[in-house]
């Protein structure tokens, strides 16, 4: 039955890109920038998320025990903490474990702290987990009444700060992104329109001899998709360099912050960019064709 050569459509699409070189280039550049911003923003949020998780800051309270408590006192305190309503898991961190963790966090020069092993300045502590934030103040009140607890670190507030920071970033970037995508689609619409216009006469003849809407539009849809694909591949390369650079410079400064390794996100980044790029391209070209595929 119907035998259309796919090479015809792809050939037409490429010649369209070529014919409107400047506009095609502009579309690719704009869409690429848009994708880089989208990628950077997504990666930033993803990194904030894993740090939030890794630190386990969300629903935890750390209670530090007075340094002069005996073993008996410590087990009494543990019992009393466990009896507070709504407290879930309670983990006892001995002063020796606390030192291990400290040494590990400090990293390179951590071994220097080994000398404190026998005369440990760090206190024992209990990490309380609770499920429902509504009981937070009750738990804090009850904790304060237990004898032998020296201080309480409320890690929730830090988590909140990070969370609201994240929300703020997401809000700003969302708006920024919407604007950028609208601009991208707009530029692609005009590029494809120009391409359609330069082939106005051809399209008219095709319609008279009974070409279907699909046959006429496919080259232009492919043209839009090619713009999207090219932009996404370039964005992928740029994002790789960018992330690698940031990761390296961060690694020198702080090693407390966790950074998702590039190798973990490459595939997602690649296909994510390709999908968003191609879909944007197709949306742009479809909109610019609507006039010709109707009536």
């Amino acid at each position: 039955m119907k035998r259309y050569r796919p090479t015809y459509f792809i050939g037409q699409a490429f010649s369209g890109l070529w014919r409107n070189g400047v506009m095609s280039f502009a579309s690719i550049a704009v869409l690429m920038s848009c994708l880089v911003v989208l990628g950077s923003f997504t990666l930033l949020v993803a990194n904030i998320n894993i740090n939030l998780e890794a630190l386990g800051l969300m629903n935890q309270i750390v209670a530090f025990v007075d340094d002069d408590m005996t073993e008996d006192d410590i087990s009494r305190i543990e019992r009393e903490i466990k009896s507070i309503p709504y407290v879930g898991n309670v983990t006892h961190i001995t002063e020796s474990e606390a030192l291990d963790e400290w040494i590990e966090q400090v990293g390179e020069y951590g071994d220097l702290y080994e000398q404190f092993r026998d005369d440990n300045p760090l206190p024992d502590s209990f990490v309380l987990e609770y499920v429902d934030g509504a009981h937070y103040s009750d738990i804090m009140y009850n904790l304060g009444r237990i004898e032998g607890i020296e201080s309480i670190r409320d890690e929730r507030s830090l988590a909140n700060t990070m969370q609201s920071l994240k929300n703020g970033i997401m809000l700003i970037f969302s708006w920024f992104l919407i604007v950028l995508f609208v601009v991208s689609v707009f530029v692609i619409i005009n590029t494809v329109k120009l391409s359609v216009y330069s082939r106005k006469n051809e399209i008219e003849i095709m319609r008279y001899v009974g070409a279907t809407g699909t046959f006429i539009s496919l080259p232009f849809i492919i043209e839009g998709a090619l713009i999207g694909l090219t932009a996404s591949m370039l964005a992928y390369i740029v994002e790789n360099f960018l992330y690698d650079y940031i990761q390296k410079s961060m690694a020198d400064v702080v090693n407390v912050i966790k950074i998702i390794p590039l190798s973990d996100i490459r595939v997602v980044l690649f296909f994510g960019f390709a999908a968003v790029g191609i879909v944007t391209g197709i949306i742009g070209s479809t909109i610019s064709l609507s006039k010709y595929t109707r009536s």
Partner: protein, 226 residues
């Protein structure tokens, strides 16, 4: 074959181009459509091609009611018609052969069939030796014949020619008209819009005159030598 009943066409800007056209054309007829500029002849052709939709009234072509034709079926419908314009509308970067072949490729004709049919069509229109010429290497009459070959490529039932000799010198015009008559003899319904009085009188065919958006005269024979 073609039936216009009380057809009115008002363009979006308010121009009333057709104002109650009634016209019946039988299968295999040859019809000249004449009338002064702006009378509505091209509009009539555009309605037939379903390039424009009638504002009111019905148009039935080969059993298809054009007002009920959905957008998706328009391409299929247009394959029943071949069109030729005053300005040829050939692809300048395709040869005569490629111009004709393209019309067949567009509707998905197998290339084997295209290779068989295109040379035959070009021969019918006496263009056998011009197959590899580009439009700018051909005379006006030759270009119009390529356009006719293209119009016939998908074997339409109806051939519509809107002032086909408008850009061609009188001697060549006769040749084009002869071919249109020949095409009609091959069994196709042929509609020719024209201003060429001598030709209309010469051929003694049915002549439909359009004036102010409606059919003012419809007779067989010459129109201008009353």
């Amino acid at each position: 074959m073609i039936d216009f009943t009380n057809v009115v066409k008002t363009y979006p800007n308010g121009t009333v181009a057709l104002n109650g056209v009634n016209l019946h054309i039988d299968d295999g007829e040859f019809v000249f459509v004449v009338g002064s500029t702006g009378a509505g002849k091209s509009t009539l052709m555009k309605l037939l091609l379903r390039e424009e939709k009638a504002t009111s009234g019905t148009i039935i072509v080969d059993g298809t009611d054009l007002s009920k034709l959905s957008y998706f079926k328009v391409p299929q419908y247009r394959r029943k018609l071949g069109v030729v314009f005053q300005d040829f509308r050939l692809f300048p970067k395709k040869t005569a052969y490629e111009n004709v072949a393209f019309a067949m490729q567009v509707v998905g004709t197998p290339s084997k069939k295209i290779r068989r049919r295109v040379p035959a069509l070009l021969n019918t229109l006496s263009l056998g030796d011009k197959a590899n010429c580009f439009p700018n290497e051909l005379s006006g009459g030759e270009q119009q014949r390529v356009a006719m070959a293209r119009a016939l490529a998908n074997n339409p039932k109806i051939l519509i020619a809107d002032e086909p000799t408008g850009n061609i010198d009188p001697k060549m015009s006769l040749e084009i008209m002869n071919l249109l008559v020949k095409i009609n003899k091959l069994g196709k319904t042929v509609l020719v819009v024209t201003h060429a009085k001598e030709l209309v009188d010469y051929y003694q065919q049915r002549v439909v005159m359009i004036e102010n958006g409606h059919v003012s005269d419809d007779r067989v024979g010459g129109m201008y030598n009353k």
